[in-house]
């Protein structure tokens, strides 16, 4: 079953779905950052594709030449892919003003790649009512610009449909994660990441279908993944399943995570209330969703992490922070303190984006697992 997802991921970044969609004359819009509402792109009839960097750690000579060596390897990796023409299939790019790396990535993208449609949303760092107002205005503006670009209005009906579709994805992913709460989850952490990865580059209609099948299979399966310790992975963006695999090969069982490519991506559903326009409902959800380290106050994020730890009975937390990822690096001392208070140890790893977790990192993971075992 996992093979089907792997198959999709094998052509990267332009999957067969992307090709198919394009060949029917429809638009493909790249988005970067979980604060970009995918539903709007979907409702416009375009295929939303997540922009990420190379699947593995790479020499980033082009990326470094443009973004300099001290921007995170994620933004450099994305830019390098684009500079080498791998994202030429995109008709548009949308991002958020999330962090320094991404902001500049878009500056350089506009200048040196020049994709037709280009938009950056101002994303407030707070959850206050006025922050919501500002964010809604940004989302509204994005919708207008997209309508102009596509040349057709995005109707409320279409938005509602998209919301329902995406909520279904979220619900399915939640089911998938719930399976991992058991003592012997039927799926490993690295497999989950592969599933999610495929979802970023295919229509959600097809993804939901596949996901449903997977959950069926897993619910009946008697595959057992028993590990030496139940772990959660937190920190910067992570897309290389190898990283999690290398932890699991050493016997650690990754049962959940706080990553913008997984839990933080699907976490909260859009709630369609009476009296709220679909756009308002979308905006509310995206700003209030499981927050990124850029948001203030950080306790919102820490509290959710602590909740995950309880729900999934996590014994140890692996924090992987990409070098020069300031939002997460700056939070680390505080996070360690909070988790220490509930007696959950943290393994702090500094990595490059795409790292497969070998070498020195493996030694640390091994020692961490030995330490967790010794605590039992």
């Amino acid at each position: 079953m996992i093979e089907k997802f792997r198959e999709i991921n094998s052509s990267f970044p332009q999957t067969s779905y992307v090709k198919e969609h394009k060949s029917s004359g429809k638009k493909v819009i790249g988005w970067l950052c979980t604060y970009v509402p995918e539903e709007i792109i979907h409702a416009a009839g375009a295929l939303p594709v997540r922009i990420t960097g190379y699947q593995q750690e790479q020499e980033l000579d082009d990326g470094t030449a443009y973004l300099y060596v001290n921007n995170c390897s994620f933004s450099r990796s994305c830019l390098q892919l684009a500079l080498r023409g791998e994202y030429d299939f995109l008709d548009g790019v949308v991002g958020g003003s999330t962090c320094d790396g991404v902001r500049r990535l878009f500056d350089l993208w506009r200048k040196y790649i020049g994709t037709d449609f280009h938009q950056i949303l101002s994303i407030p760092r707070k959850f206050t009512e006025s922050a919501h107002e500002l964010y809604l205005s940004q989302v509204t503006q994005f919708k207008q610009h997209l309508e102009e670009f596509i040349g057709a209005p995005i109707t409320d009906e279409a938005l509602v449909k998209s919301i329902e579709l995406y909520n279904e994805t979220r619900a399915l992913l939640k089911q998938l994660y719930d399976l991992r709460k058991s003592d012997n989850p039927p799926i490993t952490g690295s497999e989950v990441l592969e599933v999610l990865e495929a979802g970023f580059r295919m229509p959600k209609e097809a993804f939901n279908q596949l996901l449903g099948e997977l959950i069926d299979v897993l619910s009946k399966s008697n595959a057992e993944n028993k590990g030496r310790a139940r772990l959660a992975v937190v920190g910067s963006v992570l897309t290389n399943a190898e990283f999690i695999k290398s932890i699991e090969e050493q016997g650690g069982l990754v049962v959940t995570d706080e990553l913008c490519t997984s839990t933080r991506y699907w976490s909260d559903p859009v709630v369609l209330d009476e009296g709220k326009t679909p756009l308002e409902a979308i905006a509310r959800r995206y700003l209030n969703n499981f927050p990124c380290a850029r948001m203030y106050p950080s306790d919102e994020r820490f509290d959710r992490i602590i909740q995950l730890i309880r729900d999934f009975r996590v014994e140890g937390v692996v924090s992987q922070i990409i070098r020069y990822c300031v939002p997460y690096a700056h939070d680390l001392p505080l996070l360690i303190k909070k988790l220490d208070a509930i007696n959950v140890p943290v393994l702090a790893l500094d990595v490059e984006y795409g790292s497969s977790g070998s070498g020195q990192i493996a030694t640390r993971v091994q020692a961490f697992l030995e330490m967790l075992e010794a605590r039992k």
């Binding site: 020195q360 020692a367 330490m371």
Partner: protein, 263 residues
Amino acid sequence: MLFGGIDIGSRAAKVVVMKDGDIFTSTIQDTGPESVKTAYMTMNAALDGTGVKIEDIDYILATGYGRVLVPFAEANVSEISCHAKGINWYFPSVKTVLDMGGQDCKAIGCDGGGKVTSFVMNDKCAGGTGRFLEMIADVLNIPLSEVGNIALQSTTAIPFNTICAVFAKTDAIKYLKQGAAKKDILSGLNEAISTRSYNLLKRVGIEKDFAITGGISKNSGMVAKIAEKVGLEPLLCEDPQLIGALGAALYAKDKYYLVNAQN
């Protein structure tokens, strides 16, 4: 019963064999380019003259950077766990260990019973590690074993700008040319390394008692600098470079009984 621990480090390979709860034999050899050869060579060196052969050892466990490449080891454990295990065998009171090896430096918190409670490790750059010291010792033409004592005689350490293990050599040459005393260069180096190590220690939190292990802890000048920074006199065992291998031997014993209990 014989239990063997082998620690294939980045610079040195160490073996400890234990018999009846005591160290039966031990050795330290240079790590060669091939781990498998190094492993045999080191183990044979340790057993040389004891009449014991590798096959006679009941359980061998490997640790260190080359731990997965030891053909005769039945299991492996990370060096971090082994250092905690080893030091608590020597000193049950120790709660904080600083392991200063050839390519890395680790600060480890342990519980007194040989279990790790937390750890931090340097990375990204080998500047300020054992390799760094070796290169300088080489330039200054001083045997490694004397580096510590010579540095201790210095009163004015020379500050080092470069922390690159490879380039520090050039810097050292430059200082020598400028007429700096060897002891001051070494002392400056110890200063640079000890500062980095102290940072690591602060991150795990320093608790009494405190010990230093690994090859660099044979450098008395370094130990003095660290003691000064930490404000605690570290405990040093007879041969702190062997602690990893000792820990591995102790784990070998645990594993042996665990496996046999299961059968």
